[in-house]
């Protein structure tokens, strides 16, 4: 079990998702990270494509018996994840 925190420090939106997902994939597949924490400090917005990145990361980690945790979410992002019941799939903590 190895753990790592990633902090993108910018909005998780379509324009950055491809690179962000590659980075996540490297961590999980190549570095063997199984407990991944995404620190949303400085992230104000998550669009649909960004939401897809969180779900894909969760699905990938689940296959490897790993765990995704989201920390420091703004009230809006926390509320979105809760409304969409994503908190039933992975842990989300408000900032």
């Amino acid at each position: 079990m190895s753990k790592k925190t990633i902090a993108p420090r910018k909005d998780i939106v379509a324009s950055m998702v491809a690179d962000f997902k590659k980075e996540l994939q490297n961590m999980i597949v190549e570095e063997g990270i199984t407990e991944l924490e995404i620190d949303l400090s400085g992230v104000e917005m998550v669009d649909s494509v960004g939401l897809g990145a969180f779900i894909a990361t969760h699905n990938t980690l689940s296959q490897k018996n790993g765990k995704l945790t989201v920390i420091h979410a703004t009230e809006d992002i926390f509320s979105l994840f809760k409304t969409m019941r994503l908190d039933q799939h992975f842990e989300i903590h408000q900032g």
């Binding site: 997902k21 917005m45 998550v46 649909s48 897809g52 894909a56 699905n59 990938t60 409304t83 969409m84």
Partner: protein, 627 residues
């Protein structure tokens, strides 16, 4: 959809007003007992529903969750499934208190816990349902999605509540890529938009279809389903949400077993004519809090100047009279502006009083009710706060007094009724409190209201008691109509309290944190102190004010930095309170006119006298010291 600060503030202000009304109405509802006035209960339900709807739209999850649970209980009362007995009302009031806390402390909401209230309210909902419905709170109903692969799993009670309110339940199908991303929208906006058209009972993201990081190179779509209870028809919903009709599934026959036309006598008929927050008459000040405090401080300064000029032994000088008159003109307008911001109807205080007495009765078993009249009279909110404390104490003492008399004469416990009349004349606001349930009271027996009298004295007011043949024991509260209220910081010097007007204080430094030569220096016979990169003189107020000794200054524990206009100086004091104090300025400065350092005295809550230093005088002294 961006929620701007103004919209949020309006919501919080209106919800606050609405919750205060709900609180009052709940106590009235409690008094009705089993004879529930259904339309009246429906009004309370509607107010709570409006708070919940607003919270839902604005994404305030805790307020939404708690108000939903309170609404559930109110719905049961409306449908006569639950009698609003004191225990039920107590839970509702506690829930409202927590909601009030959430709406008042909007910036620290996430630290406010609602778990206890949520569990209690859910427990109550479950406990009061008939046996055949009890399970509905915990009984989970499967609602399959159109794709057949997934299903919502919802407590049956939530569906039942929506149906009781005359709503239709729909499943909405969205694709977060096609219907949201490609339309340049965000999921949060979409969700909030949907919530404006109904109550989102649940939602479900098909996370399997998103795939993993490896397989998901181009995202085909993210199916998202919403279970929505709405008063709109299928057609209206399709138009309002601008969504394909094939993506809105009406659940028509799925809940036939839950529909019971007998159960919705209040809710269907009354509750959904108005979905928005009811417009309350919230008295909003022309000034915001910060401005109000600033103006209040300036008005105090002006009051001091006026008082000082009036009482100083200056030679007869026509210019002095002109100055006094001009200050008076400005002061009158100034004070009116501040008063308008600080004034509030007495009804605000009487509501708090009613609640205090109700809660005391619930906890002690000595129940009482108060009828108030004259509640539209306006009073300073700071004075009202202290008046409510004194009134609560007095009433509790009267309740205990009557209860002892009942016990001694072998009578049963009963609810004690009180009458509180409020009238005003040019000088005073006068409150008269008595109990029409009076009983034979031994002659010359009086209540011990010493503590309350002290409280009232501290706001320049009086409390007297007497016995009248037709009213029994009567308490009379006399409060001046106008007050000069000083917002200040208390400091202590030689065991004497001084209040430095808030407007003059820049900050504090502890002696222990300062080092000589670096922060404090001697210059001639005086000390100077470094404040914001500037050396400023230190002035002292202690007994030997005329003999500034370096040692005396150095032995003080705290330095308070003050200013008058551009003049800055430090005051050496023994102790400084972090807290602010509201104190009523007593017009006693004429007795102190020989002391140039003081402009007035204040009575504090505990009865102690505080002195108000003349900051202008000290600024002048500071200027001389500097020279």
């Amino acid at each position: 959809m961006m929620i701007d600060a103004d919209t949020l503030n309006t919501y919080f202000e209106e919800s606050n007003c609405s919750l205060k009304d709900i609180e009052k109405d709940l106590i009235t509802l409690e008094d009705m007992g089993a004879k529930i006035d259904i339309p009246f209960a429906g009004e309370i339900f509607r107010s709570m529903h409006a708070i919940k709807s607003g919270a839902s739209i604005l994404g305030l999850s805790k307020i939404k969750e708690l108000s939903q649970k309170l609404e559930n209980i109110l719905g049961l009362i409306c449908n006569e499934k639950l009698v609003p007995n004191p225990e039920v009302i107590n839970l509702l009031l506690q829930g409202c208190d927590r909601l009030l806390q959430l709406t008042r402390q909007q910036y620290t909401q996430k630290e406010i816990d609602i778990d206890e209230q949520s569990v209690m309210l859910t427990g109550l909902t479950s406990a009061v349902l008939p046996d055949d419905k009890k399970d509905s709170v915990t009984h989970i109903r499967n609602i399959p999605l159109p794709d057949g692969r997934h299903a919502f799993q919802i407590p049956e009670f939530n569906i039942q509540q929506a149906l009781d309110q005359g709503k239709t339940v729909y499943i909405l199908e969205y694709d977060l890529i096609r219907d949201v991303q490609e339309k340049n929208d965000t999921p949060l906006n979409m969700v909030r938009f949907v919530q404006q058209h109904g109550e989102m009972i649940d939602s479900l993201l098909d996370i399997k279809s998103v795939g993993t990081l490896e397989e998901n190179i181009s995202l085909p779509g993210i199916p998202y389903f919403i279970l929505l209870a709405s008063s709109l028809t299928h057609e209206q919903l399709v138009t309002a949400l601008n969504i394909s009709p094939h993506k809105v599934y009406e659940l028509k026959n799925e809940f036939d077993d839950l529909v019971n036309p007998q159960n919705n006598k209040c809710l269907k008929k009354h509750c959904f004519q108005n979905n928005s927050i009811q417009k309350q008459e919230c008295p909003l000040s022309l000034l915001n809090q910060e401005q109000l405090e600033r103006f209040s401080g300036l008005a105090s300064e002006l009051n001091f100047a006026y008082d000082y000029l009036l009482n100083t032994n200056m030679a007869e000088d026509p210019i002095k009279d002109i100055a006094i008159n001009r200050i008076k003109v400005v002061l009158t307008d100034f004070q009116a502006l501040v008063d308008a911001g600080q004034k509030t109807p007495v009804s605000k205080g009487s509501l708090e009083l009613i609640r205090n007495i109700r809660d005391y009765g619930f906890q002690s078993g000595n129940k009482a009710r108060i009828n108030c009249s004259g509640e539209d009279i306006l009073m300073d909110r700071r004075i009202l706060r202290q008046l409510v404390d004194a009134l609560t104490g007095s009433i509790i003492k009267m309740i205990l007094f009557f209860s002892r008399i009942r016990e001694n004469s072998g009578q049963k416990k009963a609810i004690t009724q009180f009458t509180l009349t409020i009238v005003e004349n040019e000088q005073n606001v006068i409150l008269e409190l008595f109990s029409p349930d009076r009983m034979p009271i031994p002659e010359n027996s009086f209540l011990d209201i010493h503590l309350e009298q002290n409280q009232l004295n501290s706001i320049n007011s009086e409390l007297q008691q007497n016995q009248q043949p037709e009213k029994g024991i009567v308490l009379t509260f006399t409060l001046p109509r106008t007050f000069t209220i000083l917002n200040g910081y208390p400091v202590e010097i030689d065991h004497q309290t001084y209040i430095i007007p808030r407007i003059n204080v820049l900050g504090y430094s502890l002696r222990s944190e300062l080092s000589e030569n670096t922060d404090l220096r001697q210059t001639g016979d005086h000390m100077i102190i470094l404040y914001e990169n500037q050396w400023i003189p230190i002035i002292s107020i202690y007994r030997e004010a005329s003999q500034h000794t370096i040692n005396a200054v150095l032995h003080r524990n705290v330095f308070v930095f003050c200013h008058i206009g551009t003049q800055r100086f430090g005051l050496a004091v023994d102790k400084a309170e972090e807290s602010e104090t509201d104190a009523v300025l007593q017009p006693l400065s004429r007795h102190l006119s020989s002391n140039p350092t003081l402009v007035g005295t204040c009575l504090l809550k505990d009865g102690d006298i505080a002195f108000v230093p003349d900051m202008g005088y000290f600024a002048y002294q500071a200027m001389l010291t500097k020279c």
